[in-house]
Structure formats: C-alpha cells, structure tokens
C-alpha cells in the first residue's frame, strides 16, 4: 500500500494536481475570466468610420464590411444579453447586412426600457415597416418614437460605452442633440405619411399640429404641408389653403404644395392661377430636389 502510494506521488500527474490547486487557491479566477472578456471586447472594437458615414448618407459609402460590427455587437450581447442599446446598434447593422428578420427581432426586443419607449428601435422599426408599405405597423412604432423622451435618448447614448466609442471617432463631427431632434422630426414626417396612406386624416391634423407646436423640432414646412393635406382630404379647403401657404412661407421648393394649391384654385374657378401653379409644380418636379417628397428620406439610422 505504502509502496503504491509512494509510486503514485512520484508521478508527473501530481504536478497537474499542484497546478490545479495553485490556480484555485492563489489566483482570482473570477477576475481572470472578467478581464479576458474585456480583452475580447477590446480586440473586437471595429473602426466605426464606415458605420458613421453610412448612417449619415447611405450613398456616400458602398460595399461596407458589416462583419466586424456584427461580431463586436454580438460579442457584447453574449456578455450582456439584455443590453438594449447594443441591440439597437446590432439591429441597424443586421438590417444593412441583409439580415432583416434578425434586425426586426432585435429592434422589437429593445423598444422599451422600464416602460419607457426607446427612440431608435421604434424609429428604425417604423422606417423599416414604412419602406415595406406596412402602414399600420409603421405608424404604431413611429408613434412610439415621437412619444419617446428625447432627453432620455440623449442621456442613454452619452452614457453607453459603445456609443462613447462611436462618438470618440474623428468621423463623428455632429451634435448628438441636433441629430436626435432631426430624427424625431423625420419620425413625425413618416408617421404623417403613414397616416395619409391609411386615410387617417383627422389624426394627421392632430399629429401635424403637435409637430408644429414643438419648438425643438425642425422641418416645420413639412408639418404644415401634411396638416394642409389632412384638411384638404377632409374637405376643409380653406384651412388646407392656409396651411399650404404657411408651408410655402418656410419652404418654396416642395412641388406637391403647388399641385394641391393649383387644385384648390381650379376648384375655385381661378384657372389662370391654377395653371401657373401647376407649371411651377412641374418645373420643381423636373429639378428632382432630393429633399422632396419629404418621406423619401426614410433611412434607418443610429444617431
């Protein structure tokens, strides 16, 4: 027995046991595991320049390799499965990488935080459904988006480690606050357009008036235009005319306004003015101003 034990203790396998015991007693394995995770994350941080440029202008950059972004955000989610900010970002990346279903699932998982709507997921879902022509779904998410708290959106972005990395890029030269307000305004426009497609003209008027009253929002000309469109469709031509005029005071390049004004003049029997306005509308259409129609700029974004 003693001989057998002595034989056993003299084996090299004993050093493996020593190493095991050493690791269990002398090393903080929890710290090691946590730090290895951090290292993996640091190694996976991509260069955000392409993503930033693409979100700003989707025609500015082509053939983006989305893989590094997917890998990075997926890695974060493997460590922090409930991180909704990362879900939003991965959703944006997945959609542009052609994985629409996965993007929708990610956005849907991150529409609310503690009962409060998160702007970007709702906005992107709204845009996504809008592009597919699914107006009820689009208006549902866009309504959530405009109902969200922009201050909260800004704070969440500024507090997020991933957004901090993105914002630290030399390619990010924008004011986050301005970008959020711009996106919020776009959400209003797409919501109004969705309602128009669903013939919900009364609601259109309410939403457009909300947009007009909100001092923080830009694109007021668009809100007046949709407001006018709502009045026009329900037959309140005088209100429609006034709203179109308000829109024209702010922006004279929208060809559709001239079309509707021409229609109003025609119905009133003022054919000459109608003809002139139609001519303006036609000329503006020929210019192909990328800003019009307003709903044309329906792109997913993350800032």
């Amino acid at each position: 027995m003693i001989h057998a034990l002595r034989w056993l203790f003299c084996r090299i396998a004993v050093i493996y046991i020593i190493v095991f015991l050493f690791c269990m007693t002398c090393m903080d394995l929890k710290t090691i595991i946590e730090r290895v995770k951090v290292r993996h994350l640091n190694d996976a941080i991509p260069d955000f320049s392409d993503m930033i440029l693409f979100s700003r202008d989707q025609s500015a950059i082509r053939d983006i390799d989305w893989r590094p972004y997917q890998d990075y955000f997926e890695l974060i989610l493997s460590y922090l499965p409930d991180d909704q900010i990362t879900m939003q970002l991965l959703g944006f990346v997945d959609y542009n990488a052609g994985r629409e279903e996965k993007a929708i699932a990610l956005f849907k998982s991150s529409t609310q935080m503690n009962g409060k709507y998160l702007f970007w997921s709702n906005y992107n879902l709204g845009v996504l459904y809008y592009k597919k022509g699914m107006w009820p779904q689009a208006s549902e998410y866009l309504l959530n988006a405009i109902s969200s708290n922009t201050r909260l959106t800004l704070l969440l972005m500024q507090d997020s480690m991933v957004y901090k990395q993105i914002l630290a890029s030399s390619y990010f030269k924008y004011s986050l606050d301005e970008e959020i307000k711009d996106a919020q305004s776009r959400a209003y426009i797409l919501l109004l357009s969705s309602m128009y497609h669903m013939k919900q003209y009364d609601k259109m008027i309410v939403i457009a008036n909300l947009g007009i009253k909100d001092q923080a929002l830009s694109h007021k000309d668009a809100f007046y235009y949709y407001d006018g469109l709502g009045f026009y469709e329900i037959g309140r031509i005088k209100d429609a005319f006034l709203m179109f005029q308000e829109s024209l005071n702010l922006e004279k390049g929208n060809p559709d306004i001239y079309y509707y004004l021409a229609d109003i003049y025609q119905k009133a029997g003022q054919l000459e003015q109608a003809r002139d306005l139609l001519q303006i509308s036609y000329t503006l259409h020929q210019k192909n101003d990328p800003r019009f129609p307003y709903e044309k700029l329906a792109n997913l974004r993350f800032y």
Binding site: R11, I12, A13, Y16, I18, M27, D28, H40
Partner: protein
C-alpha cells in the same frame, strides 16, 4: 560525420523555420506592432554608426528628442548590432540587414536553449526536441511582432553560461555571464532579468541546496585563481550600469515625457508606470491563449501557439516518474505566473509597492515569453526523458505502450470536440504515435535516428500549415490597411499620439492646432527681431498659435528662464519673421548631423535665431568658438541671439565626455565579446 551532426540538428530545423516565415524575410509581409519601432530605432542607430556618428539626439523623433531612451531600449553597446553595420557597408539594404539580424538573433536564442537542455538532460535527442518546440512555437512569430528577442538573447545565454560555469568553472563561461548580464543592464529594462534570476536563485537554493554550496565553493576557488578577471568583470558590470543610471537620472529631469506609460504613476521618473496601467501589460491582457488548441486557421500575431507534440508529451508523461528538475521548473513557472497575472494574483501589487524596480515594468507579460514559456518546454522535455527512462527500466513495456496509445486517443477525442483543427494537426498526432510505435518495436539503432525525423516532421508539418494561415491572414489585413489608408481621406490634421517626446513639444501638440504646428515646423531656421517674455497660460498658447500661423515677427521666451537682457522690441522691424534666412544669404549650414549643426551667419543687425528642433538642457551653443546662451524659444525650440556681422554658430548636443564614454563602452563590449569567444573556443578545444 558525427562532427557535423550537431550543426545539422540545429541548422536543418532552422531552415525549415525560415521556410515558414519566408514572407517576412522576402518583404511580402512587414513587421507588426512594437517590432516596427524597434526596427526603426536600430536602423537609425546603425545608420548613424555607419556614418561615424554616435546618435545621442534623434532630430526625427517628435521634432527632436534625446536618443538615450531608444539606445537603452535596443542596448546600444551590443556588438552584434555591428552585424547590421557590416551588412550595410556591404551594400545590403537597411530592411534586409535588420531582418537578417533578427534571424541570426533567433537562431542564437534557439541554440542557447538547445545547449541548456543538453546540459541539463545530457542528451542530444531531448535537446533537439526542446529546440524544435521552441523554434516552431509562436516565439518565432514574436520576433516580427515585438522586441523581446533583444532581452531574451542575453538572458538565455546568461543562464547557459551560469549552468556551464556551475558544472565546470571556466573563464569562458564566467566572462560570458558578465557579458550577457552587462548587455541586459545597459538596457532600461533589466528588471525582467533580475526578477527571473532572483526567483531562479531562491528556488535553486531550496531545491538544490547541496549543489548551491558546492557551486559557491567552486566559485570561490575560481575567483581566487582568477582575481584579475573577476576584478575586470566587476568593473565591467559596474560600468555597464552607468548608461542606465544616467538615463534614470534624466528621466526625473522632466525634460521628456512618456504620457501613456507614466499615466497614474506618482513617481517623478517619466519611465515609471502607474499601477492602474500595469494590468494593461499583463498576461491576461496579452497572452492570447484563445487559439491554443483550435481555430489555427485564424491564428493572429500575438496568439500563443505550441505544436501539439508538446501537449502529447505532457499527456503521455503523466504516469512517468517525476524528478527534482521537474518540480524546480514547475515552481519557477508558478512563481513567475503569480507575478504575471498582476491583478488576479496579488503578488504583483506587493512587489510594485515594495520592490522599486517593479514600478518600471509595464509589459509584465514578457515574463511569459522570457521564462515561463521556455521553462514549460524544458519541463515537458524533462518529463519526456523521464517517460522514456521509466519505459526503459520497466518490465511491463506493453502496459506503457497501451498507456501511450490511450493518451494519444484521449487527445484525439479532445480535438474532435473542437472546431477548426487543421490537417497538419492530425498529421502531427499520427507522426507522434508512429514515433512511439517505432520506439517500442524497432531497434534503438533505427528508432533513435528515426525519432529526430518523425518528431521534427510532426512539429514542422503542423507549424508550416498554421503559419501559412497566419501569413495569409496577415497579408490580407496589411493589404486592407494599406487600401484603407489610400481610400479614406483621413484629415491631415490628426492629433499626434505622443509616446515619448520632449515635455514642451508634448504640450505644444496638446495646445496648438496641429496644422499650424506642422507648417511652422517645416522651417528649420527662423530669424526674429522681436523677442518677448511669456508666462504659461492658455492665453499664451493662443498668442503663440496666432504668431506661428501668421508668421509674426515675435519669438517668445519663458519669463522664468530668461531675463530683460534677452528680450527686445524692435519698433522699426518688419511684420513678418524671416522664414528662409538661408535663401537670403544670412545663414549657411556648413555641417550638420544628428548631434550637431554648424552655421555661418551674416547679419546686418543682431537678430534672434530660432532653430526648430526641440530644446534640451544638454544642447550647447557656441558663437565664434565662445559659449553662448541657448534659450528655450517659442515654448519648445532652441533659440539664441546672433550678433551683427559674420558669425560662426555651433550647436551641439551632450559633451565630448559623453561621446567618449559611449564609444569606449561599445569598444569594451566588442573586446569582451571577442575575448569571450576566444576563451570559449579554447575551452572547447581543451
């Protein structure tokens, strides 16, 4: 034939290793990470030596910086650096000379490792196995990735000489020990060596107490007989410490900064590392064990790779008898590992707080490459020898055969559960198995020579495939990096990420618009008529920026470093400073090298000359052979008043004594190196 066997055992695997890394040597791939800057600094140093200049100032680094920091990094007195100088003299390009030097360095390191193993295990076969495991491990890729080979070579040869001396005291190994120790201490990071040596010594006393006493006795007898040599070696080692000590003193002067490294440190020395910064350089942060068993097709630089033969040996030897050497190596590894994991160990913090030199070590993970990794190989090979010895002494050989087969099978099953195992890996397992079958069934006259071939094939086939993938991946990433730079129009005005620079220039980069600074620095010499004092403040930097941008005829001097006699306001002067005094015949550069510049000047009135190379208190100015007052002008640069008429201006860095000391030390090292080779050769013949 026997005479050539040993060189063959060393050279054939090295040629195969060279084949694995040929894209680096052919220029298909370029160096990575820290290897780039070390290549540049060694290139700069050897270029200057080729021109007969000992470069103590580097005007190309961040608008001029003392070169001592980089000389300490590369170990300037190393006679092997003259190999590069020699190759350049022959007309070989800088890049090829440096790569050749790297290859020679790695071969020498492998050779020392071979010799150590042979000395410890008294067997050429096991020394060969250790050598090829070391050669084909990711240590080989590390030489293209960082600079640890520069520290490792003297360290590994030191231990060879130490072991050799402990076996048979001789003048060759004795001088070798001091030569290697000297090489290490001339660098600014001899602390890895000191730590490894300290742990080695403590454990040696614990494990081999009786041998240690014998070693001391033999050593004292040797010292008595070789008093002159011992005295010389002591002086030599003390002299070797001087450059590092001078550099340490300079690091406290505040004239240069290493912002990233020094971040969070409470010490005055710029080279100390903040405790919070240390973790970024430990094994957890750097030792990439992720692909040690699988996914070799995606191996990256810095990932740790070890041929599977190493693991097969460890697995197959589990039931072999252990010995003192194995435990000695194991405790060395464990001791160093505890330090290397920093925050996860606790030992490092204690050492950082109580052992002064731990404040200077940032890349703690180098302990892994310098000692832990080679010791692991040594341990596995010692275990391998123990296994074969156990089998040889056993009557139940079939049982051992079954055990070895089962070990291989376990490893195969283990690998089946992993993804991305390459065909070369399976080939390595089959060849390892074949080796054991041959060992059990063939005669020794066949199995012994065949063992070299089979195990070398096992290691080489797997490694060649792994490095093939690594190079493919690296090539793609280097190409995409180049494409990115070409296609992305990055703004020119990028903030510099200062690693090491003059403290004042570092501040300029922080506060002055980079484009303004860049444009300003394009003019090497500027003549001013107005010189005004300033106090450090944000407003001053705004003024400086606007004078730099508008080329206003005002130079600035620190109020605290200059006096009213240095300041002047010339009401009748022009609005703009003279940016091109050489084109107007006011200034002619007579001679210029990295350490000095000689100018001939012809001025109609006294004017202030600013040389847009950083100021340092070790720069001296002479006008017509007489010492002149050199001032820190425009916050970071050199400036001096030049009188009207013809003047000869001489600006030089450091003192003749400094150059003499460095030159002498380099010559002494070359002499000691030759002497060491002579003594070793003589001992070998005897």
């Amino acid at each position: 034939m026997k005479k050539y066997l040993e060189p063959l055992l060393l050279i054939v695997p090295f040629i195969l290793w060279f084949f694995c890394f040929r894209p680096f040597f052919s220029g298909h791939l370029y160096l990575q990470a820290d290897a780039i800057s070390y290549g540049e600094h060694i290139g700069f140093y050897t270029d200057q030596l080729s021109r007969g200049v000992y470069p103590l100032w580097d005007p190309t680094w961040c608008q001029g910086a003392p070169n001592d920091f980089f000389l300490r990094r590369i170990g300037d007195v190393n006679p092997l650096l003259f190999l590069i100088v020699f190759l350049k003299w022959l007309g070989v390009t800088s890049a090829v000379s440096y790569l050749f030097f790297l290859g020679v360095y790695y071969f020498l390191a492998g050779w020392a490792f071979y010799l150590i193993t042979r000395l410890l295990l008294s067997d050429r076969f096991f020394a060969f196995i250790a050598y090829i495991l070391f050669l084909f491990s990711s240590w080989g890729s590390e030489i293209f990735y960082n600079y640890i080979i520069i520290i490792y070579l003297p360290l590994v040869w030191f231990f060879y000489f130490l072991l050799s001396f402990s076996r048979k005291p001789g003048r060759g190994p004795f001088l070798g020990m001091f030569f290697c120790a000297g090489l290490v201490v001339t660098t600014y990071i001899p602390f890895f060596f000191l730590t490894v040596l300290a742990i080695f010594t403590i454990l040696y006393i614990l494990f081999y107490g009786e041998f240690f006493i014998q070693f001391l006795k033999r050593g004292s007898v040797f010292l008595e007989k070789n008093m002159v040599l011992a005295g010389f070696c002591a002086i030599f080692l003390l002299g070797s410490c001087v450059p590092a000590l001078v550099f340490y003193k300079e690091s406290k002067s505040g004239e240069f900064v290493l912002p990233n490294r020094h971040l969070g440190s409470d010490s005055a020395s710029a080279i100390t590392v903040g405790m919070d910064n240390v973790a970024s350089g430990d094994i957890i942060n750097h030792g990439y064990f992720d692909r040690i068993f699988d996914d070799h097709a995606h191996m990256d630089m810095g990932d740790i790779y070890m041929p599977y033969v190493f693991f097969l040996i460890l697995l197959s030897t589990a039931l072999a008898g252990s010995n003192r050497l194995i435990y000695f190596l194991l405790f060395n590894i464990l001791g160093l590992s505890l330090i290397t994991v920093t925050t996860a160990g606790g030992v490092h913090r204690f050492l950082y707080e109580h052992v002064i030199f731990f404040k200077f070590i940032r890349n703690i993970y180098y302990f892994f490459w310098l000692a832990i990794f080679p010791m692991l190989i040594l341990l596995s090979v010692t275990a391998f020898k123990s296994l074969l010895d156990t089998i040889n002494g056993s009557k139940r050989k079939k049982l051992w055969l079954a055990y070895v087969l089962v070990s291989h099978l376990i490893f195969i099953v283990f690998l089946f559960g992993r993804h991305g195992v390459l065909p070369g890996a399976w080939a390595a397992i089959i060849l390892s198995l074949t080796y054991f079958l041959v060992y059990f069934f063939a005669r020794e006259s066949i199995s012994y020579p065949l063992g070299f071939v089979l195990l070398l094939s096992a290691v080489f086939l797997q490694s060649a495939q792994v490095y093939g993938f690594l190079e493919g991946k690296l090539y793609k990433s280097q190409q995409s990096e180049a494409h990115y730079i070409q296609t992305h129009k990055d703004p020119v005005l990028q903030r510099m990420n200062i690693y090491y620079a003059s403290a004042w220039f570092s501040a300029l980069v922080e506060y002055i618009d980079p484009q303004v600074l860049e444009d300003y620095c394009k003019h090497r010499f500027i003549l001013y008529d107005n010189v005004l004092p300033y106090k450090d403040s944000p407003e001053f930097f705004k003024s400086l920026q606007s004078t730099m941008a508008d080329n206003t005829n005002i130079a600035f001097l620190s109020r605290f470093e200059s006096g009213p006699g240095d300041w002047k306001r010339d009401e009748g002067s022009g609005l703009h400073a003279d940016l091109e005094p050489d084109s107007l015949g006011e200034l002619t550069v007579l001679r210029s090298d990295v350490n000095s510049v000689k100018l001939a000047m012809h001025l109609t009135k006294s004017r202030f000359l600013v040389v847009n190379d950083n100021y340092n208190s070790d720069w001296h100015a002479f006008i017509n052979g007489r010492p002149a007052r050199l001032l820190r002008a425009n916050f970071s640069f050199k400036g001096l008043w030049v009188p009207a008429g013809e003047s000869s201006i001489m600006l030089s860095f450091s003192s003749p004594r400094g150059y003499l000391f460095h030159g002498m030390l380099t010559a002494v090292y070359a002499g000691v190196f030759l002497c060491m080779l002579f003594l070793l050769r003589k001992a070998r013949k005897q």
